[in-house]
Amino acid sequence: MFYHLPLEHEVLLHPKYFGPNLLNTVKQKLYSEVEGTCSGKYGFVIAVTTIDNIGAGAVQPGRGFVIYPIKYKAIVFRPFKGEVLDAIITQVNKVGIFTEIGPMSCFISRHSIPSDMEFDGANPCSYKTKDEDLILQQGDDIRVRIVGTRVDAKDIFAIGSLMDDYLGLSS
């Protein structure tokens, strides 16, 4: 799910940036330091929307660096267990289907694909029903339910399932 979240970040500024362009440099550093990052707590930070407040810079004792505490808002993407999302199939093989949902990868195990669908190893690989009524292959749009998430240091990886009604190929 995409959220608009208020967040906080500290930018450390080297004295070489002190000058008329200082605040602009602080803003640019905020963008480059938070956009594209990912945490288990807030999910993927896609883009900063507004900078609400840049606090007074505090000079660090013993060093020349200045810390600017910043309050900002950003678009984040955070998957939740139980949520249904649209996904694009990126790879199909006999262990399951790999998909991408925006910046995040989601894997659907063979065992989470309805049993009436069988793996077909012929190029292109796919999962299909016996009567070939439904075929899932690379590039297809599908609806998947998130059943679990794994959080790395800087990445979230989701596990999905197609077992419920109305999941799978989007009509």
Partner: protein, 132 residues
């Protein structure tokens, strides 16, 4: 963590956050891209931004600001949880049965009222064919 979207249990960090429709994210990211294109110094966008922009362009159901605003207004009046609101707008279920399957927290809602809401949602999508 103790989270479960099917029962509307979310971490408290998200209590004060607004949910965003896929269509809204698309508009915001396209706008940001335009602003950046106008600035010669701006650095390139990374894979997270680009993948998200592609995804929202693929799955966005509503195209214009006006339609998005109308959809938000329609769904807000239905007194839904902000998660349910975004899910309905993003997934646009065809009928009450599909809506309840995709968004289980809607289970206790009256089918007829839900169908009416979904029908209105559908007319917004269809009316886009007649907009520019």
């Amino acid at each position: 963590a103790d989270e479960n979207a099917s029962q509307l249990v979310f971490p408290k960090e998200f209590d004060t956050a607004e949910t965003l429709l896929v269509s809204e994210v698309r508009l915001l990211l396209e706008h940001r891209k335009e602003q950046s294109a106008a600035d010669a110094d701006a650095p390139e966008f990374g894979p997270v931004f680009n993948k998200t922009l592609d995804y929202t362009q693929t799955f966005s159901k509503f195209q214009s600001r006006e339609t998005i605003s109308a959809v938000r207004s329609l769904l807000t009046h239905a007194h839904l949880h902000k998660f349910e609101l975004a899910q309905l707008a993003n997934l646009c279920p065809d009928n009450a049965e599909e809506a309840k399957a995709l968004v289980p927290s809607l289970d206790s809602r009256d089918d007829e009222a839900l169908e009416q809401l979904l029908d209105e949602l559908k007319t917004h999508i269809q009316s886009q064919a007649y907009q520019q």
